[in-house]
């Protein structure tokens, strides 16, 4: 059945979007409950995953869901100021900018990922939101990932969001930073790109290493100059080292 759905979906025939909704327990999950109690009807295309708070939303949870072929991901939490845990939703809101950037980067329409506030008393809002989102995604068509168009850097991007360097700068943005917010965001985005590229390199070395910079450039599609810059950084961090030479070029391997 699922297979059938995916096959059909890939062809864009009778396309039924499948949306993963991460709902916080206190507001949005309860809001969806109220939609039920109030018998507000909405399309069947959404599947709810209960979490305690949107503050819990590690960005990889969204990226992985997209990677697995979700046509859309909805993150729904309490209205600002209403968070059961005071500020979890604000933290999610902070992350959301970066998340959008990441999603765009791997070729997914940013509209497929939404962050919305639905309170426990807004059953009607929940139903309307689902209706609207399903319709929007129906217009967009199946996720490009469902159609097997998954850019190589997707997994590297997910790994980047598991890496200490990127997580550190994102995490710091949750607390007061003395730098201009716009500038800070630029820095985070730059690190996101860096880390993604580095994970593309380490990914290639893991599967096919040792490799030369030229071979890496070929495999990853990155500029040789970028490859060399990253190799220097990776070498400094103790992640790669030289493993002999090939055609008078250094070969690199993972440590």
């Amino acid at each position: 059945m699922v297979e059938e759905k995916l096959e059909e979906g890939r062809l864009g025939v009778g396309f039924e979007p499948l949306i993963v909704a991460y709902c916080c327990n206190w507001c949005s999950y309860a809001g969806a409950d109220l939609a039920g109690t109030s018998r507000f009807e909405y399309p069947t295309n959404i599947r709810i995953v209960r979490i305690m708070c949107t503050g819990r939303m590690d960005m990889t949870l969204v990226l992985e869901a997209l990677r697995m072929g979700a046509d859309g991901v909805l993150i729904a939490g309490c209205h600002p100021g209403d968070c059961h845990y005071h500020k979890g939703n604000f933290m999610m809101e902070k992350r959301f900018d970066y998340l959008k950037e990441a999603v765009k980067n791997v070729g997914i329409e940013p509209e497929r990922v939404r962050l919305e506030w639905v309170s426990a008393s807004e059953g009607g809002k929940w139903a309307a939101l689902v209706r609207e989102m399903v319709e929007e995604i129906r217009q967009l068509g199946p996720s490009p990932f469902r159609r097997l168009q998954i850019p190589k850097k997707t997994d590297a991007m997910i790994d980047a969001f598991k890496s200490q360097r990127l997580r550190w700068v994102v995490g710091r943005s949750q607390i007061k930073v003395e730098i201009d917010e716009g500038k800070y965001r630029q820095t985070v985005n730059a690190i996101m790109h860096d880390e993604t590229e580095r994970h593309m390199i380490t990914g290639a070395l893991k599967g096919k290493g040792p490799l030369t910079a030229e071979e890496l450039a070929h495999l990853t599609g990155l500029q040789p100059r970028r490859i060399v810059q990253h190799l220097i950084a990776l070498r400094r961090d103790g992640k790669v080292n030289e493993a002999g030479e090939k055609n008078s070029q250094y070969l690199y391997q993972l440590i």
Partner: protein
């Protein structure tokens, strides 16, 4: 090494609530094919005694080590099923719920086939999580045997006395100079026609003299922190701020009475157009005399359609308190959408009072719908017997009040029964106005994190099942803060809130969150980020490693989402447990992995 998961799935028909839409048998058969499922069955009502027995017996018979119930929302029924698991010898956290009612059958009543498919997906997702569940324990915390009651109206005083009589220490605070609340401004109460002052007198005397009650007037709640069993509050009174430490909180600040805008039915333009509340006051003072006619108009500022979407539009950018402020402002001129419940009886009561004093006075009650319930029907008949005239107008043609140049009042209405316009010259026009949310509520809701419903009143934890609980453990609501109530209903809610709080205080302890954060010390680099972002101060860096103090951790998971080393996991909501559900949905085992 963990045991191989042996999952039992119990699919509930919930009478026809689920079974009327979802093909339950098909879901059961499907469940049997899901990996790790060793037993699947269906019940008419899984939450019934018989249904619970089936779960307990199946656990033993099939040697289940995980249980999935596919039924309603875990927000109401999870505790019940967890308890059943516990009785069967399973750790209650080895239980997972698949919500196929609120999130499925109830919202897709006309799409049986798709709803059945969705139910299968939801069950498959729940099984995937269940297979990865681990036993958890709930730490116990002490509950102080003391309570803070906010608001010394009928409900608050009742709650305070009830708890004090059980031996608990109660701090009762009232923002006004005297306890008594709204009832002290009332004259007679329906249906007994007893003096309101007589009814509240024992309450006021009680709270003033009870050895377990400390009453503080002209005092408000300024700040709250802490958690169930141990709330730290700051009270502001005439002598400045003071701290108070209590185990539970009962919120009973009451509501306000809607005041019509100037000009509505000539209100504010004529001294003889007044609200029922003002009329009460005049009756008490004997200022009404024996007029020839009095016309009462019902539902003034009540039952005026819906709260418009435009009022809620600004919501995403604002918060609860801001929303309430907006609603209060917008509703000032237009009235409120709900039935205020008490106005019909109140009007009948005042009509009877007039008739008993001055039988010759023609009392006319103009209404759209008259809502009298329980024994109040007799009360209504009594008024009819006294020849009070109840005249129904149609909603589209509300009565009109005209003031002549000589200052005489005249009410024009459309009599729906006779289908004709009627005209009443009158001495008094009395407007029945609803109880509405008060501004104090804004602050309280904000501070205590209690959501506000779209009608503007505070929201109960569950409309039917938990009417005096809030979604904040240890905080209860009483009186008209959750909607219009008369005096006896306020007393009931006060007693109820006191009983709920006393359960906690009587036990002296309560089980708290099992879902807390755990640090993998091997991974932790002691970066202090968790310490900085935790709203509860639960993590503390000791010897270069983060230590989570479980009693303070409320389980939001923000630290886990931000930990640079991914060294923090959330019990019961680990990344792999969450993603297992997503994977079960999108790439279920057995299907060809389409995403490469």
């Amino acid at each position: 090494m963990a045991q191989e998961p042996r999952v039992g799935v119990f699919v509930c028909s919930c009478g026809t609530n689920i079974g009327g839409v979802v093909n339950v048998q098909e879901v059961v058969e499907y469940a049997k094919t899901i990996p790790h499922v060793v037993h699947a069955d269906h019940n008419l009502y899984t939450c019934s005694e018989a249904g619970l027995v089936v779960i307990k017996e199946s656990v033993k018979k099939h040697n289940l080590n995980r249980v999935v119930v596919a039924s309603c929302t875990p927000r109401t029924h999870e505790p019940l099923f967890r308890a059943a698991c516990k009785e069967a010898g399973l750790n209650p956290y080895l239980f997972e719920m698949a919500n196929i009612r609120e999130h499925d059958s109830w919202v897709h009543p006309h799409e049986s086939q798709k709803a059945t498919q969705k139910a299968k997906d939801i069950v498959r997702m729940a099984v995937a999580k269940a297979a990865l569940l681990e036993p958890q324990t709930e730490p116990e915390v002490e509950v102080k045997g003391s309570s803070l009651v906010v608001g010394a109206g009928v409900a608050g005083m009742t709650a305070a006395l009830s708890m004090a009589n059980q031996g608990f220490k109660v701090n009762l605070i009232e923002k006004e100079k005297e306890p008594g609340g709204m009832a002290q401004h009332l004259y007679k109460l329906y249906p007994t026609l007893a003096d309101a002052s007589e009814v509240i007198k024992p309450l006021v005397e009680g709270v003033k003299s009870h050895k377990n009650i400390e009453l503080a007037i002209s005092t408000t709640l300024k700040e709250v922190s802490g958690y169930v069993g141990n709330f730290n509050t700051i009270l502001t009174g005439p002598e400045g701020d003071r701290e108070l430490n209590v185990g539970t909180i009962v919120v009973a600040p009451g509501s306000s009475n809607y005041t019509p805008p100037k000009g509505l039915y000539e209100y504010g333009l004529s001294d003889h157009v007044i609200t029922q509340r003002e009329f009460d006051e005049k009756l008490r003072k004997g200022e009404i005399g024996e007029p020839e006619r009095i016309v009462m108009i019902q539902c003034v500022g009540a039952r005026k359609g819906e709260i418009r979407p435009s009022e809620l539009e600004a919501f995403p950018k604002s918060d609860t308190a801001e929303l309430l402020r907006k609603i209060l402002k917008a509703r000032k001129d237009e009235g409120w959408p709900y039935c205020s419940r008490i106005c019909c009886m109140n009007a009948i009561k005042n009509a009877i009072l007039i008739k008993e004093r001055s039988p010759k006075t023609d009392v006319v009650v103009l209404f759209g719908d008259l809502r009298v319930y329980k024994e109040y029907e007799d009360f209504y008949r009594k008024a009819r017997d006294l020849e009070v005239r109840f005249i129904r107008h149609i909603e589209e043609a509300r009565p009109e009040v005209i003031q002549t140049s000589e200052g005489k009042l005249q009410v024009v209405a459309y009599d729906a029964l006779y289908g004709m316009e009627v005209n009443f010259p009158t001495e008094w026009v009395v407007l029945s106005t609803p109880l509405i949310p008060s501004k104090d509520e804004i602050m309280l809701a904000r501070m205590l994190k209690i959501p506000i419903a779209t009608d503007g009143f505070l929201m109960e934890a569950h409309l039917k099942l938990r009417p005096v609980d809030t979604n904040v453990d240890g905080v209860f609501i009483a009186g008209t803060i959750s909607g219009p109530k008369d005096v006896s209903e306020s007393i009931i809610s006060g007693e109820a809130a006191a009983a709920r709080a006393s359960i906690l205080m009587g036990n002296g302890k309560v089980k708290t969150e099992a879902i807390t954060a755990v640090v993998d010390e091997e991974q932790c680099i002691g970066c202090e980020l968790c310490e900085e972002i935790c709203p509860y101060g639960a993590p503390r860096i000791e010897e270069g490693k983060s230590k989570i103090r479980e009693i303070l951790c409320r389980g939001c998971g923000s630290c886990a989402a931000e930990c640079p080393k991914r060294a923090i996991t959330m019990r019961h909501y680990r990344d792999d447990q969450i993603l297992a559900q997503v994977k079960a949905l999108l790439i279920p085992e057995g299907s060809k992995e389409v995403v490469q």
